[in-house]
């Protein structure tokens, strides 16, 4: 066994009840390298690393850490071996300060003496650009600062092997640059780093080697210097059914939604949407693209009637609807697919049938009572039309997989033949084929003459199906392109906040 290998994983197989998350995967990590683990959602990247971190046990396979065969029993065992994982959703206690977190991770600190903690982190602050305000509470920090705290936690516990799960997903472009600087420094000092991601550009920029997983299997490991985006994408996705194309060319009809200089606040009371104006026409897909957290959610919620705008006007089918509730908007023909709809738009404890009527439940009543036969007939037709995998109408919604829950929401929202559909990242978290089907559905209702307002973070998706694309940055629109004018480079620069 070569000494330079920090980690060697051989033949790792892990099955969950119905799916194979990892099948005979080999993975190795050298000292002083950044090794990217690239793959689609559900390709098994996180599972593989959770096995290394001891959070789950593999069904088959061997793990060598620093050349020694090891069974990693638990995360605390992993930490003793010098392996630390930074989860996509940070494991930080909101109410504690940065200093308190670091104290918890250090074996030398007993009392919260500020000087002691300062000494503890001085080296990391200086050498690794990891400076964070020690007295700040976690809830006051930005995502980028939280990430730094997570990395500090790992370093203080003596980790030499760092696993970062989708570390850039909640960061702004500037914070990503910051993070990369830190990671380069760590690599040069001999740390071994695993960088889990599905973003090609980042992976090419940061890593030394790239391992691609697809559907739980390892496809290849290649040096980053020999890789290019096109080959990586092919390796990652495999052969795809030809993607849905926006071929419908008939001119769009009248305006179904008009938004005039709209201002909306976020939960913390800051202005999230600043003076946005646009309109969506019948028979068109209007895309709003941007990095997460630039006001998309607030804008969508304002249009869906869930959030009162501070200023500005929203006209839906020609009528001013500021302050109309979601039910009234639904009556007028608005459908809404919120972000992470498999979590936020279904009630997990209710049955599939009950969930299928949530939007228009009052249509299924007779003298104030729910009419069971009507509901069943309705639910059956949705399940059939949208190909939803469920073990029956009366199982709890939480027994369905995320993808199928998503389908249930889409089915429910589209079944009413809406005049306007507002969809926020409807394909996030879905596998490729489910994403394709969702996009086809959007194109289908567009062809039927509905307007679609699509919020997305995925440039390819926007270019693939949108008729017009607006870029949102810090709450305002930075550019509006028709599909013919749209250009990947321009859009990505605008998304990053660069003024053209």
């Amino acid at each position: 066994m070569e000494e330079s290998y920090a980690v060697l994983m051989k033949n790792i197989t892990k099955k969950f009840s119905s799916t194979v998350a990892n099948y005979r995967v080999d993975f190795d990590l050298r000292k002083g390298e950044i090794h990217a683990l690239l793959g689609e959602n559900g390709a098994g990247k996180t599972t593989l690393m959770r096995i290394l971190y001891g959070e789950i046990q593999p069904d088959e396979g061997e793990i060598f850490v620093w050349g020694k065969k090891t069974v990693v029993k638990s995360p605390s065992h992993a930490l003793r071996l010098g392996i630390s994982m930074v989860h996509q959703h940070f494991r930080l206690v909101d109410s504690l300060t940065v200093a308190e977190h670091l104290a918890l991770c250090s074996s030398e600190v007993r009392f919260l003496s500020k000087r002691k903690i300062e000494n503890l982190v001085a080296e990391y602050f200086k050498e690794y650009y990891l400076k964070v305000d020690l007295d700040a509470h976690i809830w006051q920090l930005s995502a980028g600062e939280k990430q730094k705290v997570e990395i500090l936690k790992a370093l203080i516990r003596g980790a030499r092997i760092l696993v970062l799960d989708e570390p850039t997903s909640s960061l702004t472009p500037l914070e990503v640059k910051d993070l990369f600087r830190v990671l380069h420094k760590l690599r040069n000092r001999g740390y071994a780093i695993v960088f889990i991601s599905h973003k090609l550009g980042e992976v090419l920029e940061i890593s030394d080697r790239i391992t691609i997983l697809r559907k739980g299997k390892k496809v290849a490991t290649i040096p980053a210097s020999e890789a290019d985006p096109v080959t990586l994408a092919k390796l990652m996705v495999g052969d795809l059914p030809s993607p849905a194309k926006n071929t419908h060319t008939s001119p769009p009809g009248g305006e179904v939604l008009q938004v005039k200089s709209l201002y909306v606040k976020n939960d913390r009371g800051g202005i999230a949407v600043r003076g946005v104006s646009f309109s969506v026409r019948k028979g068109e897909i209007f895309g709003v693209i941007g990095v997460a957290g630039n006001g998309q959610r607030e804008l969508a919620e304002a249009i869906a009637g869930l959030r009162k705008p501070v200023k500005g006007e929203i006209f839906f089918r020609g009528i001013l609807v500021n302050g109309s509730g979601p039910r009234e908007l639904a009556r007028r023909g608005l459908a809404y697919i919120p972000e992470e709809s498999f979590k936020t738009a279904v009630l997990p404890e209710l049955t599939v049938a009950e969930n299928s009527i949530l939007r228009y439940y009052w249509r299924f009543t007779e003298k104030g009572f729910i009419k069971k036969t009507l509901v069943e007939k309705w639910a059956k037709s949705l399940i059939k039309e949208f190909d939803i995998l469920a073990e029956g109408l009366h199982v709890k919604a939480k027994s369905l997989s995320g993808g199928n829950l998503q389908k249930l929401v889409i089915a429910r929202e589209l079944s009413s033949k809406p005049e306007l559909l507002v969809a926020v990242n409807p394909t996030a978290g879905l596998d490729i084929s489910a994403s394709q089907r969702t996009r086809e559905k959007l194109l289908e209702i567009k062809a039927q003459g509905s307007g679609v307002l699509l919020f997305t973070e995925d440039i390819d998706e926007a270019l693939q199906i949108c008729d017009r694309i607006a870029v949102i940055f810090k709450g305002s629109f930075k550019g509006l392109f028709s599909r013919e004018e749209a250009d990947v480079n321009k859009i990505s620069l605008l998304m990053a906040g660069v003024d053209l």
Binding site: L79, R91, V93, S95, H101, F111, L112, W139, R157
Partner: protein, 304 residues
């Protein structure tokens, strides 16, 4: 000694009954466990201490055993809520009733029995000679003095030591706590058990000093008041001292103000109004964050 000094002196004595239970509950809730059984545990501590003081004549032994009995009740609660991840509200209410029932049975033969020994006031040398404050603060019994030490000590542990950070992490975000190598279940057990023990001392103080006899329901709702006091003091042991003495003051002043023709019942509502005000303020998200209200309070770990 004038009337006002006497009033202050008595207020502290009355507040101390509440203080131990409140401090204990702050500890438990900071770790994420809500213990609604305080009222029952206090009763259990009260009868245990009273019965032992009659039979043995030893005050110290009585207090220690009342503490131990309280710990046992806390252990039962944590076994249900922490290990078996049961519903903390249901378990706490059941515990309150169970302990009240047991203390009634244990106390059958002690109703109307005169006390054999009581905790007598001990003058602290030098300090008790301070004019005014000397009498109010330093001519009390030993449990009052102990509370002077326990409250700041608990504050120090919770906010200035790593153990305290770990406890607060358990009460706020057990998943993240676990990821930093903290044994969430162990901490929750320890805090709940100790919290129960503190409630036991509250009970002992009641029958050994404050109302030195035994009747059923001797606690008269003080356990429930302590639960409200935890919120009023926003989970801080130091604010708990102020809150408890204030409640003690309200209790005592009712007797005094009757002579001034103020309605004592109306006066009796002041502490509860203060509590409602505190609860309303604390329910604002931003303030919860500022005072560090335990976010995972009442939730079993791991969650389903």
């Amino acid at each position: 000694m004038n009337d006002l000094e006497l009033l202050a002196h008595e207020s502290i004595a009355a507040g101390t009954v509440l203080l131990y239970a409140t401090l204990g509950e702050i500890l438990a809730e900071r770790s994420g466990v809500l213990n609604l059984g305080l009222e029952g545990i206090m009763m259990l501590g009260a009868i245990t201490a009273f019965a032992l003081s009659i039979t043995t004549g030893s005050v110290v032994l009585s207090i220690l055993v009342a503490f131990a009995v309280g710990c046992l009740a806390g252990l039962l609660h944590s076994a249900v809520c922490v290990s078996m991840r049961g519903n903390q509200v249901v378990s706490g209410l059941a515990l309150a009733m169970l302990c009240a029932g047991i203390s009634s049975v244990l106390g059958r033969n002690y109703v109307g029995v005169p006390p054999r020994t009581i905790l007598s006031a001990v003058k602290v040398p030098i300090l008790s000679e301070i004019p005014c404050l000397g009498y109010i603060l330093f001519q009390q019994n030993i449990l009052v003095y102990l509370a002077y030490i326990v409250a700041p000590l608990l504050w120090f542990i919770l906010f200035k030591t790593k153990i305290g950070v770990a406890i607060r992490a358990c009460g706020d975000d057990p998943l993240s706590a676990e990821s930093m190598g903290i044994n969430v279940h162990l901490y929750r057990y320890l805090c709940t058990v100790l919290g129960g023990g503190f409630a036991g001392i509250s009970g002992a103080y009641l029958t050994l000093s404050y109302t030195p006899f035994w009747v059923e329901n001797i606690t008269a709702g003080r356990g429930w008041i302590s639960l409200a006091l935890v919120i009023l003091s926003t989970w801080s042991p130091l604010r708990a001292v102020l809150a408890c003495y204030f409640f003690g003051f309200c209790e005592i002043s009712q007797y005094w103000l009757q002579t001034l023709k103020l309605n004592p019942y109306l006066l009796g509502t002041i502490p509860y109004l203060a509590t409602i005000a505190a609860i309303s303020v604390v329910s604002v998200e931003k303030i919860r964050k500022l005072v560090g209200a335990p976010r995972a309070l009442g939730k079993p770990y791991p969650e389903d």
